[in-house]
Symmetry: C2
Subunit: 296 residues, 2 copies
Amino acid sequence: MFDLTSYLAAQRERINAALDAVWLENSPPTRLVSAMRYSLTAGGKRLRPILCLAAAEAVGGASADALPAACALELIHTYSLIHDDLPAMDDDDLRRGKPTCHKAFDEATAVLAGDGLLTLAFQVLSGPSSRETGNADAWLRVIGEIAQAAGYQGMIEGQMRDMDGETHGFDLKDLESMHRLKTGALIQAAVRTGVILGGGTEDLIDRLDRYGGNIGLAFQVTDDILNVEGDPAVMGKAAGTDTTRHKNTYPSLLGLAESKAFAEQLIQEALGALAGFDEKSDPLRAIARYILNRRR
Amino acid sequence: MFDLTSYLAAQRERINAALDAVWLENSPPTRLVSAMRYSLTAGGKRLRPILCLAAAEAVGGASADALPAACALELIHTYSLIHDDLPAMDDDDLRRGKPTCHKAFDEATAVLAGDGLLTLAFQVLSGPSSRETGNADAWLRVIGEIAQAAGYQGMIEGQMRDMDGETHGFDLKDLESMHRLKTGALIQAAVRTGVILGGGTEDLIDRLDRYGGNIGLAFQVTDDILNVEGDPAVMGKAAGTDTTRHKNTYPSLLGLAESKAFAEQLIQEALGALAGFDEKSDPLRAIARYILNRRR
């Protein structure tokens, strides 16, 4: 029986160590670096990097080869949280139970810390550990995949639509495409780049892409569900905020029971995409179930 | 006699055409894309991309090979202007004679448009035209050079120090290191990446690095001078703002005459670094003189 809890803890430790090592040796402890590290070490789940490493292993690769991509994905995720929390955007004071970056520092520093993390992601992707693999073509492709998923046709457009939806309302179709852009694209890129760096074929990339797309959307559906019935103490953030903000969510559009059934269905599709994969993809299977049952 | 005016006009046209082509064919005309394009087409001098192409030619390369890097440099420069103009930072209403991005759109859109341009830069650097060169190693190095110059050890740290200097004041040494980070690093990266993509040796990279470092700082010294005695109508932005903001600048710390002498000296050093280069580096020579004598 695969033990997900120890697996996640071990991978998290490994990724945190790798993230500690992204700072160049001569990095002075500037205010900018402090703000970047503050948000990066604020206790994230490390879901995207863990998926990237697990996908590399699922196709028979060595997850160590994907470590720079795993770090870059977390740097990008963290930057997006800092910018989304800004007063001009979601204006959030708390994130993972701690003051948001612009509260702990100031708004200008938070904008620049986000910019710094985003840029550092590409520094890591093109750094010595990528360049010394002798696999520059794969890394160039990975950089392109991550930039596209994180960019104006992916995550950033998702955040634009999310803000727009708060004003104008969403139907179910708008909601799904917003989530697929805002959260799904980067999760999908995590899986895809793991497969690429693990040496997977185009066919494997396509199959695991289906897994990534389904768990990415499921993650957001469960996020909406947790906002209704989650425990703020476990989540490290307030519940009920979507209702207060009159946001259209899966529970508000579909009802709670129907939303849970939809999340369940997405996870079944994700597991279906793993049919025919051997036990090396057990972590991906367990992560899919964890997304469905998560408490935070 | 080398005609700089027609050279700059021709290169600018070429770069603008390449920048028009960075948008993927299926890009819908979203508000996000409108904001990104608004700032990108607001009439920049295209100095960084022109330097990149000219450096590739100076070492005997084909400037077409450096075009994706040239575009990426301008995308990054434009993002930095959008974020620097934000209310939480310099709070500027006008840029190049037009409303700044957050004035023309709104603050959230401006943050995201900046994020989008920065991310797009890396999409372009890793896109088909880079991947099809069969020169993935060089492109990976170029991505690393640009990310480092634009990042927390370069341009972003420069902006942090610039804001800090407005509060705490600068001496001449602080001022120089701030400018070398905020403006110099990306200009230097433009020259370096041009040489790399033009196929230049490590020795040529070093020699032109000296050119880039000197013109980068000179550019900022003349910027300070223009803020004192420039014509707002020609510059498309207000003059005298440094004095109003009590900013320490080269003229305020050295005096106007001494600042001009310093700029002249930097340009002479830049020209010195080009000694032994043939007429293919005439554009770089002319650009150095142009930086000294520019009106905007």
